[in-house]
């Protein structure tokens, strides 16, 4: 599919799109707490991504925004308007669902116009706004088709057009791209970012895909077991995860978690004391302050683990490993390294190529590494 031509979107004046969750909780029948004591402010015009594994409460949070679920405790407000008891039809929101949820008994044109007809928008206005959004999403030729005649990507475009045509105060997107294939997903992602830039309307996007979240978010809210664990811009979360779980969840490649303990001359890594690395003073004081006998966990992202040929790093006490497997990813190479019975992963640019079986010297900088408490998993620095 060709990228659609660029049509700027005419934006009307909008209601204040800021949102506030104050101590919001949702308990389902049988006592399951889907969301616990959520405090969250979403700014007007922001694209906030709620990220977490399935069952973490992100969809329940979205459903509370939509009015499909009522908060059990706390207060949800749009602007300064209390929303707990406002039904979905009075919230001026548009929603795109994972299952797409178009009306099978209507054609594309009527699906797109449904929300406007319900709100008694005039026929001419509906026609004008429909033709605007179908140009943005390049679906004009599909207007008279039935939904079951469309491909998955086309259905998703129609679903987005249906939301966009409404010009709501708030867009809610519930894993909208998860049923699409990888290339279409990337394409829809960039379209969404462009649309958001043009409509400047608040969007809340739910996904379990950290790559998608990193790609589109102004801010990410990482959720787990009904709680908001960390909230911030994608790079902040990537660079400073609050705990081991966030560090493991965010990042294209699984992070290396290395057992470590303080020693007189530095940090002994991998638990068996085979290698000792000099340690920065902040890490030493942080670990000593936490007082668990000096043992802790070091998180090093594969892209921050540096590899060098042994000849270039002749220091006898250097950290050595053997290349165990190699995957060429295109722009990068992913290595699995065997070191003293442990497997670590490293990602390097393609400029640096090693063969399977090569001995390499590995290292990382403390500024790139994360230091976590062994027991709680919380970041120590």
């Amino acid at each position: 599919m060709n990228p659609p031509p660029h049509h700027p979107i005419t934006t009307p004046p909008k209601a204040n799109g800021s949102i506030r969750f104050a101590g919001v909780g949702k308990q389902f029948e049988g006592g399951v707490a889907a969301v616990k004591d959520l405090d969250l402010e979403i700014q007007d015009g922001e694209l906030l991504v709620l990220l977490g594994p399935s069952g973490c409460g992100k969809t329940t949070t979205l459903n509370m925004l939509a009015g499909l679920e009522r908060p059990s405790t706390g207060q949800l407000s749009f602007g300064d308007q209390a929303m707990n008891d406002v039904p979905p039809e009075e919230r001026d929101i548009a929603m795109v669902f994972q299952s797409i949820a178009l009306y099978p008994h209507l054609n594309v044109r009527d699906n797109i116009g449904m929300g406007l007809r319900t709100r008694r928008v005039s026929r001419q206005e509906i026609a004008a706004r429909t033709s605007e959004v179908v140009h943005i999403l390049d679906i004009a030729p599909l207007l008279d088709r039935r939904i079951h005649q469309l491909s998955g990507g086309q259905r998703q475009r129609v679903a987005i057009a249906k939301a966009l045509v409404r010009r709501p105060r708030l867009f809610l997107l519930d894993e909208p791209f998860s049923s699409l294939d990888a290339s279409l997903r990337r394409q829809m992602r960039s379209e969404l970012v462009r649309i958001h830039r043009e409509v400047e309307t608040t969007m809340v996007f739910v996904t379990h895909d950290q790559e998608e979240a990193m790609a589109i978010a102004d801010r990410i809210g990482v959720m787990s077991a009904g709680e908001l664990i960390q909230l911030g811009p994608p790079l902040d979360i990537y660079r400073a995860p609050r705990n081991l779980w966030v560090a493991q969840f965010i990042g294209a490649h699984p992070i290396n978690v290395i057992e470590a303990s303080l020693a007189a001359n530095g940090v002994s890594l991998l638990g068996d004391g085979a290698w000792t690395k000099t340690v920065s003073p902040e890490v030493r004081t942080a670990v000593e302050r936490q007082g668990s006998g000096g043992t802790f966990l070091v998180g090093v992202r594969p892209e921050h683990l540096s590899l060098a040929s042994v000849e270039r790093s002749p220091a006898a006490d250097g950290w050595r490993a053997e290349i165990y497997t190699r995957q060429i990813l295109g722009t990068d190479i992913l290595y699995e390294l065997q070191t003293n019975g442990h497997l670590l992963t490293a990602v390097t640019p393609t400029a640096q190529v090693f063969e399977v079986g090569d001995r390499v010297a590995i290292d990382f900088a403390w500024s790139d590494a994360f230091v976590f408490d062994r027991a709680s998993g919380n970041a120590l620095v």
């Binding site: 039809e89 929603m95 299952s99 949820a101």
Partner: protein
């Protein structure tokens, strides 16, 4: 063709014969004079086909094979009235059943509320005994309140048969529809009630078609209640009217003609709704 396929086709053929042959035989009989029906060996098709069994039911006269005029069918007025009554009762009951059952089934199928399971249980229990078991109290009640032998009375009692059945069928149908479509309708600005009639109902045509056909056929075929509450009255429906043939002089070919007529309305309904049912995919409405 391998043995397995042969077996499948064999069984399919058997099933078709099993279903079709009795109806064919009835049709065969309805086109014969009584003298030909009694011929030996039996005729597998009418050698002298006649429509006189049909025409005479609706006031026509006909000359028999012997050259004499055939006798008048004594039950003809009862049959005509029964047809009319059956149509009126079945149509009224089906419309009322749909109007009442669809919202109830929607609530039971899509909403969570206290007592939902108990209600479903009560509804299915009300269909768990045979009608004959409760006929005597109904006869007494009906004669006291003046519903005995009235179309109104039949409509009321038939609703007790159809409503639980249709609620049951449609509850499972509604609960099988994807939940997000309704959520989408709400977000699109519809109240719960508007979402029901603007989105859920139009999406539910296949289920509603099936339910309509079931409701109509239950009324059309019902015998016990009509026999006890309306037999011999001006409100008598077709099934008890047909049964009056058993108590008169033997008229097998005329009875066959009435039976064929009684098959026609449900057959038309099934044919009409079959295309409806096929036009949408029940499993995946998208």
């Amino acid at each position: 063709m391998n043995g397995r396929r042969l077996l499948i086709y064999g069984f399919a053929a058997l099933l078709v014969i099993w279903t079709i042959v009795p109806i064919y035989w009835l049709f065969n009989m309805s086109l014969m004079f009584k003298t030909e029906l009694l011929a030996s060996p039996t005729h597998l098709y009418p050698h002298e086909p006649t429509v006189s069994n049909y025409t005479r039911l609706f006031g026509g006269t006909a000359i028999g094979p012997g050259g004499a005029e055939l006798p008048v069918i004594g039950q003809a007025p009862i049959i005509q009235r029964g047809l009319r009554n059956s149509l009126i009762v079945a149509v009224i009951v089906t419309i009322l059943t749909m109007v009442i059952s669809l919202p109830v089934a929607y609530a039971l199928g899509r909403l969570n509320f206290r007592g939902r399971t108990a209600m479903l249980f009560a509804i299915i229990t009300s269909r768990s005994y045979p009608p004959i078991a409760i006929i005597i109290p109904f006869v007494l009640l009906y004669s006291q309140v003046g519903l005995q032998g009235t179309v109104r009375g039949l409509v009321i009692i038939y609703l007790t048969l159809t409503i639980p059945m249709i609620i049951w069928v449609m509850t499972s149908f509604f609960s099988s529809l994807p939940r997000t479509v309704e959520a989408a309708a709400r977000v699109d600005g519809n109240t719960r009630w508007q979402a029901f009639y603007r989105v859920i109902l139009p999406m539910s045509w296949p289920g509603i078609a099936v339910a309509t056909a079931i409701s109509f056929m239950v009324c059309w075929n019902e015998f016990v209640f009509s026999q006890f509450l309306a037999a011999g009255s001006p409100a008598q429906t077709l099934p008890p009217a047909i049964s009056t043939f058993f108590f008169q002089i033997s008229q097998p070919t005329e009875m066959a003609a009435v039976s064929i007529i009684s098959i026609i309305p449900p057959a038309i309904l099934a044919y009409l709704f079959q295309s409806r049912i096929r036009s949408l995919n029940l499993v995946d409405p998208l």
